[in-house]
Amino acid sequence: MTRYLTAASLVALVAGGGAAFAQETLTIGAVGPKTGPLAGGAAVTYWPNVQLWAHDVNEAGGIQVGDTSYMVEIIEYDDQTNPGQTIQAVQRLATQDEADFILPPYSTGLNLAAAPIYDRFGYPQVTSTANTGNVDELSDQFPNLYVTLGAASGMVGGLIDVMTELREAGEIDNTVAMVNVADAFGIELAEEARPLFEEAGFEIVYDSSYPLGTQDLSPVIQGASDANPSSFVAFSYPPDTFALTEQAIIEELDVGVFYTAVATAFPAYGERFGPAANGVMGIGGVNADDAGFQDYVARHLEVTGQAPDSWASPMVYSTFQIYQQAIEGAGSIDRAEVSEYIANNSFDTLIGPIEWDENNNNPAYWTVGQWQDGTYRGIASTGREGEVDPIVKQGWGE
């Protein structure tokens, strides 16, 4: 078991003996992949935020409930990217460790596998990395399940709005090459995109997919290049996002819009491609100029030794903040009261205010971002502040 009790919180614990406030400990569970296929993504987006959040809460003196301040103690389990293990670990947290609250698991599949357990034990499950187009049915079945990251339709809609804007400004024409990774989210995005492109007056001149784990993507880029499109859109996953960009640089793919999906917002992307990344668009974004976000990046670097990504990382942290604010707002550590508070309130988080629609869904999220002069900035959202204007891609040169 890994437990975070920072030096600061220990000092606070000792000092707290003399203060007027009572000091207690709140046990918080966290289940996510440390091994298996999703361990890489979780190591960027999930685990550092668990560590940072616990650090931030304890350094600030804990979670305040009336006259009592609760230090948080985290119990982490590895689910090996296996839903059976996620279920077992959440059960273990609920019944053996008697966790007061359990942070949401990582990814759509693992969150939904655990949803019945959260539901049965009355744990609120404010997810940050689940992406689902089925919120109405899910919220009926699991009333304590919340979705914050957004849906594929919004992600694609944002991209097409940006492209329409550039087309109307005369920067690009209406030809698009579109490719997708043949796996769940890649398929869903492509499926949403086809009719929407058509509706917006775009012509898909190249439409192709490749299997998950494809090493050599040069045929994909060559095929797209031969169709001579004005825009290139790839609904891709982390390894192929990098591989497609690499190949586009080699082939000097000449397009006004170059878009790759998951992992474009990773700091590693900017480090790897440097100035060549300038103008690349990607899925999700953040208000990079927001002082709160910049402070978060600095703390993230200092506490975890690595930078956050510019899409899901701040969202993960924001959902953790919701737990804290709900416990303080409810004035209780009783799960039913905290769940009630989450359902009926809006929250002021790192990414801005979060309010729920009738399906416990956060309707305001970042949809598209872009690398601009070494920084990944949000350029489109469904109601977030701080969108900047998109720029047109000007080659891959130095």
Partner: protein, 310 residues
């Protein structure tokens, strides 16, 4: 012999009855471990029914399991749940028969490689189907609880044991034993070896598919990477070998300690789970080369010898 059969059947029935009472007395945590144990009991016991006597190591468990998971995932919208279990079983058996016909005439090593590839092959076919049809992730939203899943798995395990018990005493079982000892002898004795192997391979195919179909409601969301995880195939082999494949009850005495060990390690050392599991497996193989069955029977033999001397 007849008397001993009745005795062991009675004993098995008693164990089953006790196991069925678990949800009534345990908390949710123990129950979730119970589900894992029941699931691997079905998978490992049916695996050993085929692989034990024939010595063909099958790594196709994940393929059949995934077929079953998708049968429930796709079918739950259209058909009542109870119909999906036999459908999954038939699908699993048919695929197993096709694979068997194609590979079981070959020597063991080709079979191992083919079964390992099978899960990936079916996974790619499903992904391709999703890509072409644009189908999204599949949701299995039902009112089936953990208790229901546990009891269903227990029922399936009982069927597997009964099936294994009956087969062992049938002409098929006799043929398989001869075949396992020496395939040439079996062929000369007039046994249609290929047919026997294919028939027997259909059992783990059907059982693994039904197990997958039963577990789909537990996962709520079905996607290829969840349904076809290759780890599952290896775990089943490890557990069955740990128990020992020479006896019908062999795999289950591997499944129980392995699941508990796994649980203890993941609960205590979440950051080193895989490493420690690997180490403990090495230790087990070194100390228990014939599995727990060998240990138990060796102990029994020693006790008998001791009793005779006294």
């Amino acid at each position: 012999m007849k008397g001993m059969d009745t005795k062991s059947l009675g004993l098995a029935g008693l164990v089953l009855l006790v196991a069925a009472g678990l949800p009534l007395v345990s908390d949710a945590y123990l129950l979730s471990i119970g589900v894992t144990i029941a699931m691997y009991t079905c998978l490992a016991t049916s695996w050993a029914l085929f692989s034990g006597p024939t010595h063909y190591i099958s790594l196709a468990t994940a393929a059949f399991f995934g077929i079953g998971t998708y049968t429930t995932g796709i079918g739950i919208e259209h058909l009542p749940y109870w119909m999906l279990l036999p459908i999954a079983g038939v699908l699993g058996a048919v695929v197993a028969a096709l694979v068997g016909v194609a590979t079981l005439r070959l020597s063991g090593v080709y079979f191992v490689i083919f079964t390992l590839g099978l899960a990936e092959l079916i996974r790619q076919i499903i992904t391709w189907g999703q890509n072409v049809s644009g189908a999204k992730g599949i949701y299995v939203l039902t009112s089936i609880t953990e208790e229901h899943i546990y009891w269903q798995l227990l029922g399936l395990a009982a069927l597997v044991f009964l099936g294994g018990f009956l087969i062992w005493r049938s002409r098929l079982g006799f043929a398989v034993r001869i075949l396992g000892d020496d395939e040439d002898v079996a062929r000369h004795a007039g046994i249609h070896t290929a047919r026997v192997k294919v028939l027997l391979f259909m059992i783990p195919g059907a059982v693994a598919a039904i197990t997958g179909a039963m577990l789909a409601p537990r996962y709520v969301y079905v996607e290829p990477s969840i349904a076809f995880t290759p780890m599952l195939s290896f775990q089943v082999v490890i557990m069955a070998l740990l128990g020992g494949t020479g006896r019908l009850w062999g795999p289950v005495v591997g499944v129980i300690p392995f699941t508990l060990l796994w649980e203890a390690i993941s609960g205590t050392f979440p950051n080193q789970t895989t490493l420690l599991l690997g180490l403990s497996f090495l230790v087990i193989v070194y100390l228990l080369p014939r599995g727990f069955v060998g240990l138990i029977e060796g102990g029994r033999a020693r006790m008998r010898a001791g009793g005779a001397m006294a």
